[in-house]
């Protein structure tokens, strides 16, 4: 081809590319709805903890839908922007970076795991976005002087030490073995539990970590068994907890297994099967028999999403708290909204939520549940 032809070809290609890009740009921008208020979220949506992550997202989505149905906030609709952090701290940080640069994101509900919430909160703090976690119980989450970090659930100091008291006084166990999963949450909770037990005079004969993602815990359980404890406490999540329960049965260990809110999910029951019988877990919400708001929420959740997860009600309340705060602030300014959240007094599914100067909720009740006939039942 001669030079003119070649130039002509290039020119045509170039013009075509510009046209396509312009079209994509215009269509893409038109795709974004005019005026919305975005609430960002991070939780594990894939991986071995996907179930509770999805349940948390659904709880928030339910709140968003309810609020939008009643007219939205300041005349605009809420949109939940949920990302998958795979319970990996690195993913959580990446998500935080993404969310903070979106100017329409006014608040964050999340993350789920303490190991994710802690590093992500640094980024949200820098950007001044308010962050309400439905499930992060690690103590240091609210102890770093960040005025924009809150949680609707109580913390592990309360959960662990109350559990320690429970094991010593209610269950009358004296020789206690403790395992944890070496995460910020599991290890933190186990440490607080040990503190609680020791305060009452119990004997902690073992404190060791297991690895998340591992399958065979028979070696460490054999060691636990040989020390003759009265009970085994596990600070960690249900994939490992379920395996522990199963393998304790395999080794003929008759002592009960007790854990924290990380065990309180139907997945624990599924993974451990009938070996879950007699296992106990502490949780932060009263059973629905004692709290009608929980029963109502469960019904509404079931109609849309099926069986609810442990953190669904917390996510629901967190979204409402944010919506109320935005209404009170009356302006879409991240800093003002954070200030309003601090003044929250909200009566929701999990009870009355008010925050102290650190961002912790004043609602600090812990409830204990035991597995009976394949279900978690309130321990009277």
């Amino acid at each position: 081809m001669n030079r003119k032809r070649i130039c002509g070809n290039y020119l045509r290609f170039f013009a075509g590319a510009v046209a396509v890009l312009t079209a994509v740009f215009v269509l893409g921008c038109a795709g974004e709805k005019a005026d919305v208020i975005k609430i960002g979220m991070g939780s594990p949506l894939t991986g071995d903890q996907a179930k509770i992550g999805q349940d948390m997202k659904n709880g928030a989505q339910l709140a968003v839908d309810d609020i939008n149905q009643k007219g939205g906030v300041l005349g605009k609709n809420l949109v939940l922007v949920a990302h998958d952090d795979k319970h990996e701290p690195r993913e959580a940080v990446a998500i935080a970076q993404k969310l903070k640069t979106d100017k329409k994101v006014m608040a964050i509900v999340g993350h789920l795991n303490s190991a994710c919430s802690l590093p992500a909160s640094n980024i949200y703090h820098q950007a001044g976005i308010v962050m309400i976690s439905p499930s992060t119980t690690n103590v240091t989450f609210t102890k770093r002087g960040y005025r924009n970090v809150f949680r609707v659930c109580t913390n592990d100091a309360v959960q662990g030490q109350t559990s320690g008291k429970f094991v010593y006084e209610r269950l009358k166990k004296r020789r206690i073995a403790t395992l944890h999963d070496k995460t910020a949450y599991g290890q933190g909770l186990a440490k607080e539990f040990v503190k609680g037990v020791k305060d009452f005079g119990g004997d902690v004969i073992l404190f060791e970590g297991i690895t998340q993602g591992d399958k065979d815990y028979t070696a460490i359980l054999t060691k636990v068994r040989s020390l003759n404890p009265d009970i085994l406490y596990f600070g960690g999540m249900y994939p490992e907890g379920g395996k522990l329960a199963k393998q304790m049965s395999e080794l003929g260990m008759k002592i009960p297994l007790i854990g924290g809110d990380g065990l309180f999910d139907s997945e624990f029951l599924r993974i451990a099967g009938r070996h879950a019988e007699g296992c106990m877990a502490s949780f932060l919400v009263a059973p629905k028999e004692k709290m009608p708001s929980v029963a109502d929420f469960e019904k509404a959740y079931r109609e849309k999403f099926g069986e609810m997860g442990p953190y669904s009600p917390y996510a629901y309340d967190a979204v409402y708290i944010i919506a109320e705060a935005i209404k009170r602030a009356n302006v879409l300014d991240r800093k003002k909204i954070a200030e309003e959240v601090a003044k929250t007094s909200y009566n929701g599914v999990v009870g009355l939520t008010m925050f102290d100067e650190f961002g912790d909720t004043l609602n600090k009740e812990i409830f204990f549940y035991i597995v009976k006939d394949g279900k978690f039942v309130f321990f009277e």
Partner: protein, 305 residues
């Protein structure tokens, strides 16, 4: 605690042995380390679950759970065996005359492929086998023997004995030994080398599937279970002598026992907690390769004229 560790170790070790056999047999005839074998084990666990659920759905358990379980094993072994044959046929055979590195990298690729396909199809959640075996515990002194441990050891040892008899006494077994010894001469003797290689892959994969079902029944099934188990079984095969069938069995048992004893006795003495037991397998691998690369029972070295 010693005897209990021994029991745990034998249970774990017999599973390692089954997987290690797959590695060692393939290495024996092709001098290829089939890195995809760990994923074959994982696929076996998933397929076993699927077959079991299907059979329970068809109410076949009226014939007794023993029959159902046996059928699950047989069907899964056949399916996974054919998967192994397919992998050999399409991934490794085209590279049979290439430099040794090519099929090795290809094996890694197959491993990644299998893991991701399973993750896409079955998701990343934990799959739990329905409880079929009685949860019977036998307490003998300090040791607690659970039925599942006896079952695992029984099935593993039974399978390994059958394999040994097969290789030693049948014509097909003799052909496999011949191909492992010298591929070219074996083909001159009238042995169809391609068929024998396929049979070897079939058997190795079937054994991996058995291991997968056993572990699935004892613990549970996750899409990433093949990675670590495959590496440890490979270590076991090297420990016993790669290419050597009894060596793989021995290596597997030794590794299983060593892992259990080390995590309770050895590691605390050098200031490490038991989570480092996984590292033990790799330390053993390094030591074996440095000190005695031919392993405990030695490699089957082809005789050179």
């Amino acid at each position: 605690m010693v005897l209990q560790s021994l029991v745990n170790g034998l249970t774990l070790g017999s599973v390692y042995a089954l997987i290690a056999l797959g590695y060692t047999m393939v290495y024996g005839i092709l001098e290829l380390i089939n890195f995809a074998h760990g994923e074959i084990y994982m696929v076996g666990a998933y397929i076993g679950y699927g077959v079991l659920i299907m059979m329970m759905g068809m109410n076949l358990h009226i014939f007794g759970y023993g029959f159902t379980l046996a059928m699950v094993f047989v069907i899964t072994m056949i399916l996974v065996g054919f998967l192994g044959v397919a992998i050999e046929r399409f991934a490794y055979r085209p590279l049979r005359d290439s430099p040794r590195l090519a099929p090795l990298i290809c094996a890694v690729g197959v491993s990644i492929f299998l893991q991701n396909i399973v993750m896409l199809i079955c998701g990343t959640g934990t799959v739990v086998y329905p409880e079929i075996l009685p949860n019977a515990n036998f307490a003998i002194g300090d040791v607690n023997l659970n039925f599942i441990q006896l079952f695992i050891m029984g099935v593993s040892f039974g399978t390994m004995i059958v394999l040994h008899l097969f290789i030693k006494n049948t014509k097909l077994g003799k052909a496999m030994r011949a191909v492992a010894q010298d591929r070219t001469t074996a083909s001159l003797m009238g042995i169809n080398v391609d068929v024998i290689i396929s049979v070897t892959f079939f058997i190795g994969s079937a054994l991996g599937a058995v291991a997968g079902i056993l572990v699935g029944m004892r613990f549970d099934v996750e899409y990433n279970m093949g990675y670590l188990a495959g590496l440890k079984a490979f270590t076991a095969a090297v420990l016993g002598g790669i290419g050597n069938v009894p060596g793989a069995m021995l290596g597997g048992l030794v590794l299983g026992i060593a892992e259990n004893f080390a995590s309770i006795y050895l590691l605390p003495y050098i200031g490490l907690t038991h989570e480092y037991k996984d590292a033990l397998a790799f330390v053993i691998l390094i030591i074996v390769l440095i000190v005695k690369p031919s392993g405990i029972l030695g490699e089957r070295i082809p005789e050179k004229v």
